[in-house]
Amino acid sequence: MWMKKRYVLRHGGEQFTAVVARDADGRLAVQIDDGELREVDACFVQNGRALSLRVDGRMHLIDLSPRGGRDGHGALEATVNGRYLELTVMDELHALALASVAEAAGSGTVRAEIPGLVVALQVEAGRRVAAGEPLLVLEAMKMQNEIAAPVAGTVAEVAVRVGQSVNAGDVLLVIEPEAGG
């Protein structure tokens, strides 16, 4: 008799499901998408920060850490056999709840990805912008980074001024996306 729990994972633009199952003896098995339920030889190592996994004799070392910052919910960093990448994992209920929230949010909100200084503003409210058009320049770590429009539309609001310091996650400006844009 296996006890099962289902997780939703996102990686590289794709979504997967994983079922983690255990039986009364503590044996573990995992099923990915509609593959078969397979028993796994897995050990947490490095004080729980990495997993050593054996599949048919092949060793996999997967380092996992919660990703910092505001997107930390379910977001992980991983190093898989030396390859660094990101993914998210959450249990099924949680994933469903989040999906409905995400739908409500607009995609035209431009946020600062890192703390920095606004050194130039290239658009004003009311201006129509194409996707990819430069909006403003953010100086961080001595580099000037041009922030481009994620979608075509009309600038609804400019939330910062030149000379202003911003933190990661701060809204820089909001674009009202074009219908069909």
Partner: protein
């Protein structure tokens, strides 16, 4: 020049280079004094030093660039010398002069040498006079768009805009047609002004498909100089070096001899004192042109150390003590091959956007031929205010093929979580034919880097392993955290998961 005692040195820098210099000082029995801005109290260089003193708020202009505070600190703690590292005040003649006037040894060349080489135009003229080949370009500084346009027309497009006070790849821009010149000039001057406190720029011919070759030199200050062979630094992005190797795969023995000889002539021509680097551009036709001289230690100095079996920080200190050159040219040999991978806090998948954050996981590679020069540790918060260089992975191999294979192995052993970083870029680069056959130029990243290709999907079994591991990780995390009070899914069945097999898996015996 008499011998001078050096028993305590203030290191006027931060990050990995401050740590490197402090390690060198400790090995020589010299007390190492660190300085730090307010956000750097817990930086590795501060923890590694014998003494440390605060010098101001986070912005470099108010701390690491405050020469007056650095000198006052050095005098107050009884230091007899200052090591400037690279960047910050390392090529600031006024600071070097002020050190001397305060009775402190500035570990670097004389202020006049820094001034000469810091002024790219003056350096050009001097090199021309010494018979070192230089690239065609403007002879005077430019600030006016019209004058720039005229000069560019004369040289012929494409041209390179360079901050006169710049260096280390900062403050440079290629302009391919006149329409882009004015905007590029404005932006370059802006960056130059904020980064170097001097907005003068100049123009020179832009060599297409160039290679960046540089030569490490040591001078005794009296016209005596030796070279420690070349480094190739053609893997660059935004004129910032990313991967360097020594020897260069592009030089024949004959070309190596000529270019190294030109570097020694450069150093000798200015009675160079201490460690410096003469940078050259190598054209596809194997012409080489003097680019500039960096009058300080380079980021990439470790590859020279590994190939020649030397210690450049120790050499700097010995020369500063007045002990003369520590090596004779005939004793210097290249052995094997070294490659440096700069580990930057920047995300290659997001156009190399700078990244910050707390280092949450940090496992460095070990074993033969691996050197790590690091400015970070697990738990350190990478601050936003400074250069994004976190660490350098340097590998040595018996030959280039082994160095590359070892680099790949070591990069795969490197785990770094927290801020995004460019280790994936390095692994990508090590698969490119242009890199593997050594024919890459400074256009390598711009032309070859494709984030899509770079994000190749994982092989199936790696992906299955990742998904399995992540699901188990989440299952265990929830189990250890326990059902939160009021959490909707803390149902009856859930409690059975606590203290279960997942917990027992930890270092399973």
């Amino acid at each position: 020049m008499g011998r001078t005692k050096i028993t305590k040195v203030l290191v006027a820098n931060r990050g990995e280079i401050a740590v490197r210099v402090i390690q060198g000082l400790r090995e020589m029995g010299i007390r190492a004094v660190a300085v730090h801005s307010d956000v750097d109290r817990t930086a590795l260089h501060v923890m590694t030093a014998d003494e440390a003193y605060p010098i101001g708020p986070a912005p470099a202009a108010e701390s690491y660039l405050r020469g007056d505070r650095l000198i006052a600190t050095a005098l107050a703690c009884g230091a007899d010398a200052v090591h400037p590292g690279y960047g910050f005040l390392s090529e600031n003649a006024a600071f070097a002069r002020a050190c001397g006037e305060a009775g402190l040894i500035f570990i670097g060349p004389r202020p006049e040498t820094i001034e000469l080489m810091g002024n790219k135009l003056a350096a050009r003229s001097r090199m021309l006079a010494s018979g070192v080949p230089v690239i065609p370009g403007t002879e005077t500084a430019l600030r006016d768009p019209a004058a720039a346009a005229a000069a560019a027309r004369e040289i012929g497009y494409p041209v390179l805009l360079k901050a006169a006070a710049g260096g280390g790849g900062k403050g440079m821009r290629v302009v391919r047609e006149e329409a882009d010149l004015a905007a590029a000039l404005r932006r370059t001057m802006g960056e130059a002004g904020s980064a170097f406190g001097d907005d003068a720029v100049f123009l020179e011919r832009y060599v297409e498909e160039p290679k960046h070759i540089e030569v490490q030199v040591l001078g005794d200050g009296r016209g005596g100089a030796v070279h420690l062979f070349e480094r190739e630094c053609s893997v660059q992005r935004r004129h910032q070096k990313v991967i360097e190797e020594s020897p260069s795969p592009s030089l024949t023995p004959e070309l190596r001899e000529r270019i190294c000889e030109a570097a020694v002539r450069t150093a000798a021509a200015v009675d160079y004192l201490g460690a410096g680097t003469v940078e050259f551009i190598l054209s596809p036709q194997r012409e080489f042109f003097f680019l500039e001289m960096n009058t300080r230690l380079q980021v990439e100095h470790p590859i020279t150390e590994m190939v020649t079996g030397t210690d450049l920080v120790r050499a700097q200190i010995r020369i500063a003590r007045g002990q003369g050159l520590p090596y004779r040219q005939q004793d210097l040999r290249q052995r094997g091959w070294a490659i440096e991978f700069r580990i930057y806090a920047e995300d290659p998948a997001r156009n190399f956007m700078p990244a910050i954050g707390r280092i949450s996981s940090h496992v460095t590679p070990t074993g033969p031929g691996v050197r790590v020069d690091s400015g970070i540790y697990e738990g350190f918060d990478v601050p936003v205010h400074y250069d994004p260089l976190l660490a350098k992975l340097v590998v040595w191999g018996e030959d280039r093929a082994q160095a590359i294979a070892r680099g790949r192995r070591a990069l795969q052993e490197f785990t770094l979580h927290g801020p995004g970083h460019n280790i994936p870029f390095h692994l990508w680069a090590l698969e490119r034919p242009k890199f593997l056959d050594g024919t890459y130029t400074t256009n390598f990243i711009d032309e070859r880097f494709d984030p899509a290709e770079f994000q190749d999907p994982l092989p199936d079994d790696d992906r299955a392993a990742l998904l399995t591991a992540a699901a188990l990780y989440e299952a265990r995390r929830r189990e250890l955290a326990g059902p939160a009070p009021g959490n909707a899914d803390a149902g009856a069945g859930d409690g059975n998961w606590r203290r279960s097999a997942l917990r027992a898996m930890t270092n399973h015996r």
